[in-house]
């Protein structure tokens, strides 16, 4: 075990401040179905609850649609309209945007719901803050943009367009093709997954750090040192808002990049 990993292991000793670590995300005790492929721990439970709530809200708002929308329906329409206008139509245009809107909306609201639990009291952790979820989502984006490219251009043209972009003298391709290959077919899905995962993990660690430090200063340290707790509490407060923005932003970026990758894949020329 490296020193860095050692630092991330939570310390158990009483009376000392212990920084939050990787234990926030890994090795959590199982709540249901322990040691099966369906084991549910705290984060999985939060993930499932977040998704269930999000689906319920959409179902509730859209269950009896009316021509003149009520308040709930208006909000649902506004939310879906945001993905439709700002992501699908703007990046992909009307026709492609129409085809990929369900996927993009599912990505956006799924990620948003799982992210937002990071600042929801009693949940306090994002459903996307362990690796499989971002990885699966990245994989979806990966499969979708390759599928879109092959469907629009045929496999030959798609790979040729991707690996040998037009307007470059041919010797450059010796260098460019491998770079493009790594970029498009390896880095893209991984970067989507890791960007999301790390933002969620780091955000959570920051919040836990602020609040556990506050807790430490107020109740454990005592004396004049306890005044530092005011500062850490304020930071925690501010970072809660920052994280809220980050959660929305990450959902938006993930969806937007997926749309951009699809758009690049189906484009005749780069």
């Amino acid at each position: 075990m490296s020193n860095a990993a050692y630092l991330l292991i939570p310390m158990e000793s009483e009376g000392e401040f212990h920084a939050p670590g990787i234990g926030e995300f890994l090795g959590l005790p199982a709540l249901f179905f322990a040691d099966t492929p369906f084991e549910i721990n705290r984060i999985i439970l939060v993930r499932l609850l977040a998704i269930a709530l999000m689906l319920f809200l959409f179902w509730f708002a859209l269950r009896k649609p009316t021509r003149v929308p009520g308040r709930n329906q208006s909000i649902a329409e506004l939310a879906l309209g945001f993905v439709q206008v700002q992501i699908a139509d703007q990046i992909l245009g009307k026709d492609l945007g129409r085809r990929y809107l369900p996927l993009l909306a599912g990505l956006f609201f799924g990620i948003l719901a799982m992210n937002i639990t990071g600042v929801v009291p009693f949940m306090n952790i994002s459903g996307t803050s362990i690796i499989a979820m971002p990885l699966v989502l990245g994989l979806v984006a990966y499969v979708v943009f390759i599928y879109a490219g092959i469907k629009a251009l045929g496999p030959g043209k798609f790979f040729k367009n991707s690996l040998f972009p037009a307007g470059v003298p041919w010797p450059i391709y010796i260098l460019l093709a491998p770079i493009e290959f790594i970029n498009i077919f390896i880095v893209r899905p991984l970067s989507l997954a890791l960007r999301l995962l790390l933002n969620m993990m780091v955000g959570h660690l920051l919040l836990v750090l602020c609040f556990s430090a506050t807790n430490f200063f107020f109740f454990t340290a005592g004396g004049w040192v306890g005044l530092f707790g005011v500062g850490t509490l304020a930071f925690g407060f501010i970072f809660t808002f920052v994280e809220f923005a980050v959660y929305i932003l990450q959902a938006y970026i993930f969806t937007l990049l997926t749309a951009v990758y699809v758009q690049q894949a189906v484009a005749e020329e780069h």
């Binding site: 990787i22 599912g106 979820m133």
Partner: protein
């Protein structure tokens, strides 16, 4: 104990997904995608289409109503013009009829007047004839009376003769004067 080490590695490496994590990620993904593909987005589009349709429908309906109103207005205007023409014709007809009736009446009146005049003239003529006849017979008898008177008296006495003529004329005048009054009565 290599297994334990491996387990510890997996437990502490945030980039190695656990099996259950993958399971629940796939479940979540599937549910979310099915929901958005089968329910949320179709419903969303249905709402928008329905609204667009309703708006277009209302516009079409309004257009239709406008067209109908214009047609009705045109019809009424035409009917009004027709009615005006008809009224004018009726008025003309009435005027013509009036004039005709007036002329007829005037004609009738003239004819009646002529008839009355003619009757009166005929009557006057008849009375005049009757008067002439009676006068003639009376004048005859008077002449005979006068002649007999003249013969009875001396025809030498100029004074007497002239007095007798005077008396005779006075008699006639007297008869003339009494006769009309007697005729009047």
């Amino acid at each position: 104990m290599p297994e334990l080490v491996l387990a510890a590695e997996a437990e502490s490496n945030p980039f190695l997904p656990a099996i259950y994590d993958i399971t629940w990620s796939l479940v979540v993904l599937l549910v979310v995608m099915v929901f958005f593909v089968r329910f949320a987005i179709p419903r969303f589009r249905q709402i928008l289409d329905d609204r667009a349709e309703a708006i277009e429908g209302n516009i079409a309906k309004a257009d239709d109503a406008q067209r109908k109103a214009e047609a009705a207005l045109e019809q009424y205007t035409a009917q009004l013009a027709e009615a005006r023409v008809e009224a004018g014709q009726i008025r003309e007809q009435a005027r013509a009829d009036g004039q005709r009736i007036l002329a007829e009446l005037r004609e009738q009146a003239t004819a009646e007047a002529n008839r009355v005049t003619a009757t009166a003239k005929a009557q006057i003529e008849a009375e005049r004839q009757a008067a002439v006849l009676s006068l003639r017979s009376e004048v005859g008898s008077l002449a005979i009376d006068l002649a007999s008177g003249v013969i009875g008296e001396s025809l030498n006495d100029d004074a007497r003769a002239s007095a007798m003529v005077e008396r005779f004329l006075a008699d006639i005048e007297a008869t003339e004067n009494t006769a009309p009054s007697a005729g009047k009565n």
